[in-house]
């Protein structure tokens, strides 16, 4: 009875919330916004160095947000590998040796790498970019890992940490270098805007894939390692 009441209450709360949200959205949809950001964006797109508005917002107009978002991804990766059980990567139980899977991989992995490269390049003038390409790259890594292909660089070590930090570091260096060159922070020099954005996107793709993959392989966390302060170990 209590459970029934509780779920009825939860459903009622959800319905009221959804109704209020729908009413708010309906009212917003009926009145035009006083500031037209898409219009402003279209006016400044030529100065941004890329043709696609989403990429322009992510890597030029609001690049500080993107820099911090990449930071968030790196933090997630760090938190994940800080609890990784080092031996799990060599755990024989987690290895598969299925010849069918192996044969499929030989077809799929190169295809997915090409797709990731395409998505990265497409970001400049149509939907795509570093996040999408990184996700595809990570997915192919996950498939390789499930298929039992050894990837020693994923063992917690300097290589893994370098991979995690690479994209973020390059982005940060560009931000600071643009200031040293006399422009404002995160303002790209006019002549190099496109190559710089492309370079950043490329290393970002790599690092995003590393973060996602690191989170996947560090999934089996270790047993109690560190007792609470003051608890006898």
């Amino acid at each position: 009875m209590m459970r029934l009441l509780a779920s009825a209450l939860a459903i009622a709360v959800c319905l009221v919330f959804a109704g209020a949200l729908a009413a708010a959205v309906w009212q917003i949809a009926g009145t035009p916004a006083p500031v037209s950001l898409p219009g402003l964006l279209a006016d400044n797109l030529a100065a941004s160095g890329v043709e696609h508005p989403v990429t322009a917002v992510l890597l030029n107009f609001r690049s500080y947000d993107t820099l911090l978002e990449i930071g968030v991804l790196v933090i997630a990766g760090i938190a994940g590998i800080s609890m990784a059980r080092t031996t799990s990567l060599e755990d024989p139980e987690l290895r598969t040796s299925d010849s069918l899977l192996y044969a499929l991989q030989r077809w799929f992995v190169p295809l997915m790498l090409v797709l990731a490269g395409y998505l990265l390049w497409a970001g400049s003038d149509r939907p795509g970019g570093a996040f999408q390409a990184g996700a595809v790259l990570a997915a192919s890594g996950v498939m390789m890992r499930l298929g039992g292909i050894p990837m020693p660089f994923l063992r917690p070590g300097l290589l893994l940490r370098l991979g995690l930090a690479l994209g973020f570091t390059v982005f940060l260096l560009v931000a600071v270098a643009s200031a040293a060159g006399g422009e404002a922070f995160l303002a790209y020099p006019k002549a190099f805007t496109k190559p710089l954005i492309l370079a950043i996107e490329t290393v970002l793709t790599f690092s995003i894939a590393m973060v996602l993959l690191a989170l996947f392989v560090s999934a089996p966390v270790n047993q109690a390692l560190e007792p609470e302060e003051g608890d006898p170990g």
């Binding site: 400044n44 690049s63 947000d65 390692l225 302060e229 608890d231």
Partner: protein, 489 residues
């Protein structure tokens, strides 16, 4: 000069994070000592610049708002930047001695610590609703990572609970931001506030404000949404607990306060203000009461945070629909409360860490006899307690005095019993710890002696918190500085 100070605050912590990620704990410690020095100098520099010339707006990437992101560098923001520098420097210094370099996972403390610092600076200076969301995410995720450091199962459980609460809060806030953007087409707080003030704009809706405030109060652990805080703050390593209680919960409160002060006048209501204030008042009483009955020392301190955070929410009723000077007095009181609680609570957690390290147990009743052995740490704990109780001349006293005056001036006398009862209950739980430490126990005492610097750090913080009441005037005069004449481009 100023652009370099800004970069020093926003970007160098990120650089320290990357550098410390690549090296082991001991090298990371060296880099972090250098980093802490640089950050404190830069924060002092920006504080002095704003104290001298007034605040200014700073456009990132050279793009003006609403197209780009604009930072708001005013007196209040730099006050918090400086507070963060002080407290984080103390916690980093303490952690560099307290944490065991032999444990491989402690190397990840440094990058998370620096990301946290970068996120905090970003939030204090942020003037853009979405940028504040990203800053909050940076803070929450590194805080969760710090709680879970080492991956022990109880810590993981607390960290996951914290993560869930933080994510729900972030999503609610983000939904509110999306609605605001949909209605006004701008993400800049100042821009939205200006639009709301203009005649001819459709009146704003209350739902976005409600969603944002719900998300932010959940992340600040306002009663009854405080359940995630005591386990997370209690189980983390002591320097981490200090960072979390002193700074992390203040970040979400700061955003809520800024939104309330800029938009609340248009979108808020008397009932909403009183509701939030009432929940804060219950938190003061309930948190203190629970602190009194905790068996573990750090849980006492963690529940005390729930109570002290409650005071902050008196800002909402005391600034809604009252005269300008009364509202200003309440804002000053809350600012002082944030500063003094940050200093006192960091001191308390660091001292508690020393005490736990010394007696080898985290229980309050295990402290028997420690008063003769570790008087210095116990004294810091008590001095910090004086500020929490609100006795003169501490910062806590000055804060409560201002809140009391603004309650009376605005005719909201019902907050007075809360201020009084909160102080009395704080005294009760601080004295309970003292009582346990003065007990004598049969048998031989086995105490471990922590290094001298570990004891000095909480003492410095406790003294700062105690002395804050004496320098409240100059501190508050910088806080209320308006934007400079030429600076507000």
């Amino acid at each position: 000069m100023t652009p370099w100070l800004m970069a020093g605050l926003l970007f160098t912590p990120l650089a320290w994070a990357v550098l410390t990620l690549l090296v082991n704990f001991n090298r990371g410690r060296l880099i972090s000592w250098l980093g802490i020095l640089v950050q404190v100098v830069v924060s002092l520099g920006l504080w002095a610049a704003v104290a001298g010339d007034g605040g200014f707006h700073y456009q990132l990437g050279g793009w003006p708002a609403p197209l780009g992101i604009e930072l708001r560098v005013d007196g209040l923001a730099v006050t918090f930047v400086l507070l963060t520098a002080l407290v984080a420097a103390a916690c980093g210094w303490h952690a560099s001695i307290y944490l065991d370099p032999a444990k491989a996972w402690h190397r990840y403390f440094w990058p998370l610590f620096w990301f946290l610092w970068a996120g905090l600076n970003g939030v204090w200076l942020g003037g853009d609703l979405f940028n504040l969301y990203v800053g909050l995410e940076l803070i929450s995720l590194s805080a969760v990572g710090l709680v879970a450091l080492g991956g022990e199962s109880a810590a993981l459980r607390a960290a996951i609970r914290y993560l869930m609460a933080a994510l729900l809060g972030s999503l609610a806030y983000l939904l509110g931001v999306a609605l605001i953007y949909g209605q006004f087409g701008s993400l800049s707080i100042a821009g939205v506030s200006r639009l709301l003030g203009e005649a001819g704009t459709a009146p704003g809706q209350t739902l976005p404000l409600l969603l944002m405030l719900f998300g932010l109060t959940l992340k600040t652990a306002l009663f009854p949404m405080h359940g995630w805080l005591p386990p997370a703050h209690g189980i983390a390593r002591s320097p981490v607990s200090a960072l979390l209680s002193a700074l992390v919960v203040k970040a979400s409160f700061y955003i809520a306060a800024r939104i309330w002060l800029d938009l609340g006048g248009y979108l808020g209501s008397y009932g909403l203000a009183q509701l939030i204030g009432g929940l804060g008042a219950i938190a003061v009483i309930w948190g203190s009461w629970r602190a009194l009955w905790q068996a573990k020392l750090k849980q006492v301190v963690a529940y005390s945070s729930v109570a002290q955070i409650g005071y902050l929410f008196l800002l909402f009723p005391l600034t809604w629909g009252v005269a300008e000077p009364v509202s200003l007095q309440a804002q000053q009181g809350i600012t002082l409360q944030i500063i003094s609680h940050a200093l006192a609570k960091a001191a308390m957690f660091l001292a508690a860490g020393n005490l736990i390290m010394s007696v080898g147990s985290n229980r309050v009743d295990a402290l028997a006899g420690v008063s003769r052995f570790l008087p210095f740490s116990l004294f810091s704990f008590g001095l910090a307690g004086v500020s929490l109780m609100g006795l003169p001349p501490s910062g806590g006293f000055a804060a409560k005095w201002l809140l009391l005056q603004s309650s009376l001036a605005s005719g909201q006398w019902w907050w007075l019993p809360v201020l009084l009862a909160g102080g009395l209950l704080s005294a009760a739980y601080v004295f309970r710890v003292y009582r346990a430490s003065f007990m004598e126990r049969a048998g031989t005492d086995r105490f471990f002696h922590p290094s001298r610097s570990l004891e000095v750090i909480p003492m410095i913080l406790a003294l700062l918190s105690l002395g804050l009441g004496l320098v409240a005037g100059p501190v508050l005069s910088v806080m209320v500085l308006p934007f400079g004449e030429g600076g507000g481009q």
